[in-house]
Symmetry: C2
Subunit: 346 residues, 2 copies
Amino acid sequence: MVEPELGARKIAVLHAVVEEYVRGGEPVGSETIAERSGLGVSAATIRNEMAALEELGYLMHPHTSAGRIPTDAGYRKYVDTLPPGGRLRDAQRRAIAGFFAETMVDLEEVLRGTTQLLSRVTQYAGLAVPPSGSDEPVLRTELVEVGNSLLFLVIGQHGRVDKTMIDRPDGLEDDALALLDRTLSDRFRGKTVADARAEALKAAPTAKPAERTLLLAAADAFGGIQTGAGAHLVLIGGVANLADEAAHWRRETVRRLFEALEHESEMLELLRDVTLLQDVNVTIGGEHPHTRDWEASIVSAPFRAGTTALGTVGVVGPTAMDYVTVMASVRAVARRLSELATEVDA
Amino acid sequence: MVEPELGARKIAVLHAVVEEYVRGGEPVGSETIAERSGLGVSAATIRNEMAALEELGYLMHPHTSAGRIPTDAGYRKYVDTLPPGGRLRDAQRRAIAGFFAETMVDLEEVLRGTTQLLSRVTQYAGLAVPPSGSDEPVLRTELVEVGNSLLFLVIGQHGRVDKTMIDRPDGLEDDALALLDRTLSDRFRGKTVADARAEALKAAPTAKPAERTLLLAAADAFGGIQTGAGAHLVLIGGVANLADEAAHWRRETVRRLFEALEHESEMLELLRDVTLLQDVNVTIGGEHPHTRDWEASIVSAPFRAGTTALGTVGVVGPTAMDYVTVMASVRAVARRLSELATEVDA
DNA sequence: CCCTAGCACTCTCCGGGGTAGACTGCTAAG
DNA sequence: CTTAGCAGTCTACCCCGGAGAGTGCTAGGG
């Protein structure tokens, strides 16, 4: 950092302001901080510190005679200077442990439950990004006749199933179809979706007409899996909690937030970067291009099987959020998910 | 009806009040109605009619010197006395036609698009209930080895695919598995999901241990498909529009609404009855047990393939909703969906 | 040099009072 | 049965003044 380290007491004051504001939702004054921060200095001293913090852009003033509230930068500083290893309340710890004690096999189902779990534990909304499937090797593919069309199934090594409808090429006999079914499956087995797509595109030009059509359709299908078409890109749970918070927000903010939540690909982009990071990540207010003018924050963490990143879980809530608890919850859930995934994978 | 038919002019006044209130969102007075209803009577006469309508429970008074607003019963009467065959604006008609001009094969994908379409056209939120799958005959089943577990796939005659993970029974050889795969598929082919489940349960007691385990697991899987476990029971689109409306509502109402939307099974129950009805159905405010204290209404209509009911589409919005447009939109979309489904099915 | 007490100042929030305006309900006449 | 007129009622709004909260500044003390 170029910026000189903030004095320890300024940090302490900032923390106190953030925590008090999150607790009460109202601007906090120097007196309150002096009483509750345990710093043992007078309100006047706190006032000086707060003025300095305001000068630095970490706090702001709704009006002259009101207390201070944190700016986005203030929350950022707060989060960045948080002591590592936040605590969870027992009830929360138990809720999380209990959830993962139930055995569930289908990952998407687990993740759906996870969003509910996170929303219950944190009182905000839970998010989860399932693995994209592009990296899951193909276990086999299958071509099934359905009515006048064909159903192309791609089954992944971990049990993921994707289906795509494709037109039946003209003049394709039933036995030729059965043969092609086996040929295709053998051709793609063990490849990742991306490789399978490449393989299909490579093989197409030299194949016979009927097969060529199918190979191209298969390539499309693999492409669709890669981009997540048809699948749920982002799972969301506990929206009702957000609706409660939303009562305090500006009307326009609420609309933007819900639009973003619904526009999954935008959300995904926001969360995707996180998959690459080690631990819990926090996006505050308008820090990200996609969150301009938000009064919301996202806390997210990746989960993995072994060392391969699988997906992301997280929480959306107001910028004035109880970061300590939320970060601890998200971390705990991501860790449990990783254990679960690693275990199943082994 | 036992109740004597309301006089034609009372109906006209009620319609005028509802429409004016929906347009402006504010209580409407006798003067406004006298001017715009085109009835050619004075405000005093309107006042008498309004007093009568209030006596009958169709209108209410926020306070003495305010205009009238419709009660839930008032909206109900309004909807029930609406002339048949509402008009759509050209832009809306075109949006709907345009959407269905694109060819899409996967029904769930179409329905997801439909919710967006409805929300765009009506400015409220769109709903869709996909076919439950219980009635779709089984085309084939498949048992795939995935890691240490088995993946049980059920493929329906119209291309529906359901997957369930089941534990691999101890001491089951690979070739025995392959055999069982074929046996099971033959056993269930052509049966509806409910029948397949019964069949599995019937056959289980007399089967060999390994097969018995699998049959029971299969029965569970069919049971899961029947109850819709794992699948999306209700698709929702355009929630952001609702969030906008929600700004006017009581805080508690907003929470209840979002909770209901998220609690899919409750929503489903609300919409399921509709599937049996012929045409557009409207649930206003707290008319249904699940909508106590709502300030929201649901407009929904079933869609079919030929004569078999498939599912439902609809719109959720405030009770003060533009029923004419919404009903026309929902009707148009349901009709188009039915055409599409009937055509594909043929 | 930093901290603290004290103080003047500013600005919001809240309640009161008074007014304008919107509708109604009633009455009496057509 | 309809209508004009009118008195009555209630809200929404504005303005005002006081209370309270919290600040910034200054001067004195460790």
